[in-house]
Each structure stands twice: as C-alpha cells, then as structure tokens.
Subunit: 256 residues, 4 copies
C-alpha cells in the first residue's frame, strides 16, 4: 500500500501571541515540526504543543531556527558555523527534554525559514546543521532523519554523514519543470484550488510524480507533504488532502 | 576521611561579553554550575564551558534562572508557576543535550540569583522548580540533587518529592547566629581575610560547624562550599580554600 | 457640553505575530496607547501604528512596560528604580523619535500591565516612573499627563511633580462600592452586556458617576474610558460605546 | 591650524556584563559612538555613558546596529529595508531621549559592526539607513552627519540626500595601496607599534595622507580617527595618539 507523511509547523506561538490552529492541524498531520524557542515557541507553548502531538500520535520533530524572534527566523543571519552548531544543539536538547517528560523523543529535525533556505546552498551553515544532527544522533543512539527541500546541498552532507535525508513536497506551491519551486514573486506561485492540490498529492503518493506548471512530469523522491495550519483555509486544505489520500487507500504515516 | 564539594558559577559569558575566569575556576572546583541561557550563557559558551568541565573531571550542574538576560537573573520575575516549570525544563534539556554530546550528563541543579532566593520562601516558584526537577529525574532515571540555601522551603519540597536537597555554605560570607547570612547591607557581610576563610572552611569540612560573627557555633549540614570565579581575587581565594582542605586531608569531591 | 476620552492599547504586534484590530480601534478611540517595544511592539509595527493614529487624528500616548516580551509585560519584574527609570526614558525617546517623523509627538504616558499595577502601591517603581516622565516633560517643554488607575499612589507623586494625573474607568469591568475593580477571580468581574456598558459610560460622561455591582453610586474623576481592540467583540463594544456617547451629545476627545 | 576628530565606541556594556573602559576613553576622544540597545547597551548603561560624555564635552553620536545582542551586531542580518529603517529610527529616538535629559542631542550617526560593513555595498540597507537619518534630521531640524568607511556606497547616498558623510581612518589598521583596509586574515592587518601609529595619524591630520603597507601615499578625506577603548593597551594607544596630535599643534575636535 502507498504511504506518505504529512508535516506541518506548530508550536509557533510566543507568550501572549498565538499563531496557527495547532489543535486542528495536529489532528490532521503525521509529523509535527515543533518550534524550539529560537524563531518562535516559548517553553510553555512548546510543552503544550508536544503534549498535544503525543496525544494525537503525531511524531515530534525539532523545527530549528536562527536566533531571531523579531524576524520569526525568516531573515538570514550570518552567524559562524560554530555559533550555529551550538544554537542547533541547544534547541535539540531543549525540545528533547520536553519530549522526554511526555514519554517521547524528537524523531526528526527540520530547519525553519531562512535556515531551511540556507540548507540549499550555504555550505558553512549546511555542514554545521548536518554535523550537529549527526553528532546528536550518535550521542542518543536514535535515528534522526532531517527534512529538507529537494536539491539541498544539506541532503548530500546528510548522506555523507549517514543521516537519512527526507525530501518534502509543498501541497500549495507550483513547480518549475526542473523541480524547483516557482518563486513567490510570480503570480501563480501559490495554488488555491483544493481539487487540483488533492489531485497533485494523490499522484505524488501513488506515482512519486509532481506536475510542473507547464505540464512536465517530475519524478520526485518526496516522502512527505508540507501543509499549513496558520489560517482556517490552510487547515481545511490540509484536511482535504488527508481525506483524499486516505480515501484512495494511501496510508498517512510519518517517515520517522 | 572528611570530604566536601566546591561549587562555582561558570558559563556566564554571553556572546561578545565575557564573565569570570572559567578556565581557572574549573581547575579548582568539583561542581560547575553552568548557566543555561536564560540569565546568561549563549549556547557556544555553554558548550565550551561544559567541555572544559568534562576535561577537568568537574561535575556538570544546571544553573537555571529566570528569563532575564538584561538583569542577569538577579531580579525577581513574577512568572506563573506553569511558565517557570516549562522554562526550567527547557533549560535542563538544553544543557543535557550539550552534556550528552560530551559523553556526560547534568548531575545536579542549582537555581540562580533571584530564583535561588525565591526558593527560600516563594511557595509557588519553589514547588514549580522542585516538581520539574523531580519529573525530569523520573524521565531520565538518573539521580538529580538540587543545591540550595540552608533553610529554603524548597529543601522541604525536595524531601517530599524524593529528591536529594543539598545545602551549601558560602566561603566568603559571614553568618548570623541563626545560620542565616549577614545581609550585604551590613559592613562585615563579606569576608576578605583568606586565613579566616580557610580556617572556617576547614572547620566546616571536618566538624560540620560554621562560626557566626558573634562566635556562636552553628551546626550545619552543608555538603558544598560556594566559591567565586568572577575576579582574580576570588579565584585565588577558591584556590587557597582548596589547597588548605587538601593539605588537611579533606577530599574535594562533588556530592553528585 | 460633556466630553470624555476613549483610550485603547495598540501597536502590540511583534514581528510575525499580530495582536488586535488596530485599524478598527483607531477609528473609534481618541487616545492610542502605543506599545514601545519592551512588552510588545517592534519598531516597524510601532511606526505603522503611530502613522495610522496620526491619520485618524488619534492622540499618541506611550504605553511603557517592563522589559519582558515573553510575558507581554504582565509579570512583575523587580528591577531597580534606576533600571526602570532608564528603561522608561528609553521607551519614551524611541516612540517620540517615531512620532516626530510623522509630524507628531507623544502627548501622554500610560504604564502597561504589571507596571500599571505597580503604580498602585509600589513606591519605588511609582516614583521612578513619575520622576522620569516629569524630567522628560521638562526636557521637551511639552505637557505630558499620565494615565492611571484611580487610587494609584503614582497619582499622588504626579501631583507632587506637577504632572497631570488622569484617571480612567474600564468600560467592561464591574466595580466594588469603594471604587476598586472587582477581581477577575470573581465571576461577574467582566461585563458583557452592551446595553449595560453603554448606560454606565453615558452616566460616567454626564454625571461623573460609576455604579458599583451592589448599586452604590461612586463619584469618580475618570476623564478617560479604557476599551479593548483585541477581539472582534471588543471592537464592536468600543464602537457601541462611542456611538452612544456621540448620540447623547458627549464629545469624544482626548484629555491630552 | 590642523584639526581632526577622535571617535570611539562606548556604552557597549549590557546589564551585568561590562565592556571597555568608557571613563578613560571619554577623557581621550572628541566623539562618542554610543550603543543604542540593539547590538549592545542597556538603557541604564546608555544613560550613564551619555552623561559621562556630556561631562567630558564629548559629542554624542548614535552607534546604530542590527537587532542582535547575542552576536553583538557583528553578524549580517538580512532584514528588510523597511524593518531596518524602523529599527534605526527607534534607536535614534531612544538615544535622543536620553541625550535630551542631559541637555544634549545626538550630533552624528555611525553604523556598527555588520551594519557598518553593509554600508559599503549593500544597496538596500545603505539606502534604508541613509534615508532614515536624512528624514530624522529633517524632523529635528538639526545637522546629522554620518560616519562611514571611505568608499562606502552609503557616502554617495548621503551626498544625494544632502547629509554630510564623514570618512574615518583606523589608527591601528594597515592599508592597501587602494585605500582599503588590509584584511584581518592577513598577519600585518593590525598595527601594534605606537610610534608608527602616532606618526601615521600626525601625517593624516597634517597632510591628509595615509601610507599603505607598501609605502604608497594615499590621499584621504578622513576627518576622524577611530580608536578603541576595549583593552588597557587600546586606551593607552588612543591617549598616545591624542597627546602626539596635541603636541604637534593639531586640534582634537569633533566634526559634528
């Protein structure tokens, strides 16, 4: 039977500020990218979110980011590889401590925002992140795959380090024929048609193929689908994708 | 043979700002209270400090604090017990992640600054801290004593929770006859005479007795001596205490 | 003709996190308590909010707070009076710089959250805040009233310092016979009945009287009504209060 | 009579962490680059530093930086030009409020660290900074020159905006024949010989010439010399430069 993972960003509230309908999205996805406090997520929010993930049998992943609350981790920060490595390790440990108290563990890692983009081609930052995850896996003795954009140089480094690199597809984004995302600066970068999105994701789960906006068939290794929970429309979309996949006999199951 | 622990605060630098001669103090003490990032200590500093502690066979303790870098954790912050509990757990996990990468573990916890003082009589905060440490010990399965001021209500809560509470004495402070510290507002609160300090600490290690400033003998359970590393004079004092204790056949050894 | 001020907290977003419908509330009130970056409000948010206030002829006030983004300024922070004084001055200057660029000025000050509550009886913090505002007024040469809870000790200090202290009433809160607010821990602390609220606020504007929950008439000097903009219901309530007051011939006008 | 300015970074302490011997350096320089709280400088430090500058007749400049305390403003932060503009305006206002209370004003602006380097060629950030300073000067009606590295694109933008751009030379750095600084990665990037430094700075003040490390004479428009106060050696160097200049009849005087 075909299977695929659904992941989403959660735990991104901070103190009095809330972000996203985590409760709804945690009933929908199989993998939860939980903010670790550097780009979002205060400890109380993180603990509540991790607890809700555990209650819903959703796998906990560490959504690591640059130290930049004011920028939500979306601004590139040219820290040194050593600083980044220590910042990442600190975040992994903090979330693991919280997961442990819930009888659980971090089961994967996903870089967030500008750090996610740095994984594509910033060799210093990509190495720092991958090496830190590999060392952390070594010290815990547990598998720790890393979720990335297809084509990221960090996927190569992960392979070299013996880490599982997992590629993801974006349910609501359109693709260029070479498999890269259409830039958000272009008008048709974001998809809004539920039917089209559902159809695309079914094809992905069943045939490992994405269709570029010019019709090109793109073979892809994506094992996970990134969905959003930050608006009611986004949650509904994620739920529609899940229902359609399940209806077609595709198992929704984390890669981790 | 008599034995006693020497502890000191380390890892309190932050980014470009340095604090204390950690290298020197880590060659002197048996227990290192390592800042966890909330009152001081960026991840790179924390990792370097923990690494130095391991290299010197110094036991790693988590020096947890209020979330207040601008105040160095020395200002009482009336957060809710739930917020505090989550903040403490986050700090424990973060430091544990770093220790793990060095083949080590957090072996005890010491609250810092205003949080240390809150442990004396702030029931809400004392319960939050003790309950969090007890739960964390439970989830890791490792002993996790907590280092406190004698007379702290948190020592009672620790006993109820089955945690080892460890009392400490201050090498450079004078005592009232009831065993409390002479307030810093009084002129003779801080001791500067190395000979007197060394004599006091020898008596403490060998007879479990402190001498109050009026001459009263105070029986004490202190198993650890708090020393400082933030000035050259403080480091020299700590080294003098260690030398004198060792010279008298007292073993310097962590309680943890 | 009777007149009264309506004030509300705005500019409380932070980076990616939004808070409140500032655009709607700025079409409703006469005085805008703009966050200054210490409890909420990044500079870009502050500037956009101040600009919107100016566009709506709403008076700009500095909503000063403790340095505590994680707690939204709602947790008492026992900083020293000197630290608080400098923190307040910094916030006043920052907002004034932004107002200046819009051809405007800070016209009043309102402490936020836990700092607002500290003004009631924390003599050290009340003095620090009032003295700082008084000195700032002196250095700018412009009037700078301060908005406070009736009964605050800071109102006495303001009078001594030659500052105008302005008392405010809360549209949606019920009152004890002595003029204090019914604690939020009691079930009827918050009013939800628009008709009742409107009636209360009309009486306040026309007769300077509040009715306690037991029916006692309370003479009050409140020159401003605090309303909220953080939920659609709160905005609607504020709009209903404004409409009713205007319909009754009461002028909505800032005290500043 | 020849004249030149000496500038130095001050106010870079933060809470419990101290940085530099500000008291000594403020007795030496004519212009004080005071940190504004984003890369360093808590409000209490800023106020004390500005007060000391005023007491020593040293001109106050705003040392603006990226929002990055953990990185001391030395890491490039790819914020949007709008975010940067608002961050800069906020910092200018905050320092101006403090200066105002001392009967003084900000008299110039110097970008710090990574932001200083961004002024060389990052068009978006250079425009954001210059436009903000130009607008702030407009709203205050006071001259507000900006201190920059020779060759910075921001100097061109300043000229276009009608701002005075001031170039500075570095007392302790060696120069390439094209007038750029020798990279810190090269062994002879930093000068340590007091006699050589003093000779260089005398030549600069009297002939507007720097000598490159290969002996090339570089005509330069530098009107200010950047000195340091972060080590005892640096302070002594700054004092030696001042003494030598004064001994040669060069007036030490701010450009602002």
């Amino acid at each position: 039977m075909a299977q695929i993972d659904l992941n989403s960003d959660v735990g991104e509230s901070f103190g009095n500020w809330t972000s996203g309908d985590d409760a709804a999205i945690l009933r929908t996805v199989s993998s939860a990218n939980i903010a670790c406090g550097f780009h979002a997520g205060d400890p109380l929010t993180i603990r509540a979110t991790a607890s809700e993930a555990v209650a819903n049998d959703v796998v906990i992943g560490a959504h690591i980011g640059y130290r930049d609350l004011a920028g939500f981790g979306r601004r590139h920060l040219e820290c040194s590889p050593d600083e980044l490595a220590a910042d990442v390790l600190y975040q992994l440990g903090a979330l693991e401590g919280i997961a442990l108290g819930l009888g659980s563990h971090i089961r994967y890692v996903k870089p967030h925002g500008a750090l996610y983009h740095a994984m594509i081609s910033h060799t210093g930052h990509a190495h720092a992140v991958i090496d830190t995850i590999a060392a952390y896996r070594e010290s815990t003795g547990r598998d720790l795959p890393v979720l990335l954009l297809p084509g990221s140089i960090a996927l190569d480094y992960a392979a070299e380090a013996g880490l599982r690199g997992i590629s993801e597809a974006f349910a609501d984004r359109s693709y260029n024929p070479d498999g890269t995302l259409v830039s958000r600066r272009e008008p048709d970068a974001v998809l809004h048609d539920t039917e089209q999105i559902v159809e695309n994701m079914l094809r992905l789960a069943e045939e490992s193929v994405l269709i570029a906006r010019d019709g090109t068939r793109i073979e892809t290794q994506a094992e996970s689908i990134c969905t959003h929970g930050d608006t009611p429309g986004a949650v509904a979309m994620a739920q529609a994708v899940r229902s359609a996949l399940e209806g077609a006999g595709v198992e929704i199951r984390s890669f981790a």
